[in-house]
């Protein structure tokens, strides 16, 4: 059964986008990745409206105080196996907003992050590159699971 699951899983990677206080430069690059020129839909990547259907969580922005529990709740609602891609430097390390009274740390302080997409904002191809790396990680997860069984 795990073999069937992993095969179907690879073809359709459903993505959910969560903005935790970003300046929305990265958010429009994520939407640009969905639009005709980069068109991630040809990889079966589709943006879904609720974390319950999503396999990958695209998070942007240094987490503000009001959105900390929202980001945690979104992460908990996602079914396993799941991957988190943090898009944009202010999510990775709190880039320009490194000093503030209302920000609670880069995203990996709130939820475990698998792939960091570096850039401010990263180009859509860089986001595709990040998704490719997430695939590799999910694939190795599957292999280790099979070896353990």
């Amino acid at each position: 059964m795990s073999k069937a699951l992993s095969k179907s899983f690879k073809k359709a990677l459903w993505v959910y986008h969560c903005n935790s206080g970003s300046c929305n430069g990265c958010d429009i690059e994520i939407i640009a990745a969905l639009c005709p020129r980069y068109d991630v839909e040809r990889f079966g990547i589709r943006l879904v409206g609720s974390p319950r259907h999503a396999d990958v969580l695209l998070v942007t922005g240094p987490v503000t105080r009001q959105l900390v529990d929202k980001v945690k709740r979104v992460y908990d609602q996602m079914p396993n196996p799941k991957a988190v891609i943090c898009v944009g430097n202010c999510g990775n390390t709190g880039d320009v907003f490194y000093e503030s009274y209302n920000l609670l740390g880069p995203i990996d302080k709130v939820i475990p992050v698998d792939v960091y997409v570096i850039g401010c904002p990263p180009r859509p191809e860089n986001i595709i590159n990040g998704v490719l790396k997430a695939w590799l990680k999910l694939e190795t997860l599957e292999k280790n699971k099979e070896v353990r069984e």
Partner: protein, 182 residues
């Protein structure tokens, strides 16, 4: 429409001075030129005592039926708080708009000022922000809630203050925290 006769900056400052004599502490006219044709525009700065602040704002309505209110800037000058109300009048025709900035100083032990939302309903967000950022008390504000800071941010901490009620206890340096780890 009273806007038909548009006064020159000097006349505007003069009409303020006639109406409020001593309460206008100082006034300054700043002229700017742009482009090749060196077309100019003016910015008027007024410093006003707190008692006559509301009447000064009412006086602006004699120049322009609907003055444009941009925002209130505020900063903490150690023993008192200074608020700068930014208006602009005569919008609508090319190159005739004049910016009008009114500075008011409030002593820190009694940082209160009366609201201007009855004259300009659009000022309510700006006044709410001064309440939560500087601890100014706006008398008669229609909506006395926080607008930008989250509700679980502790009371009595005013981010723009430079004294002990400042935010320094809550500040986190995201880079330095990570340097300790690596």
């Amino acid at each position: 429409m009273i806007r038909d006769k548009q006064l020159k900056p000097e006349e505007i400052v003069q009409s303020f001075k006639d109406a409020f004599t001593t309460n206008i502490e100082d006034s300054r006219i700043e002229r700017r030129v742009t482009g090749i044709k060196k077309a100019g525009f003016t910015i008027i700065w007024l410093r006003v005592k707190r008692e006559s602040f509301k009447d000064v704002v009412k006086h602006i309505f004699t120049f322009d039926e609907y003055p444009h209110f941009a925002v209130t800037s505020g900063y903490d000058m150690n023993e008192n708080i200074e608020l700068v109300y930014h208006f602009s009048i005569y919008h609508g025709s090319r190159g005739r708009e004049i910016s009008l900035n009114i500075t008011v100083t409030l002593p820190k032990n009694d940082p209160s000022i009366d609201t201007i939302t009855d004259l300009l309903p659009g000022a309510v967000i700006s006044e709410q922000e001064k309440q939560e950022m500087l601890g100014v008390i706006v008398k008669g504000i229609p909506k006395n809630q926080r607008v930008f800071i989250s509700d679980d941010f502790p009371e009595g901490v005013y981010p723009w203050r430079k004294d002990e009620t400042g935010p320094d206890k809550h500040v986190r340096n995201l880079h330095k925290e990570e340097d300790k780890k690596t």
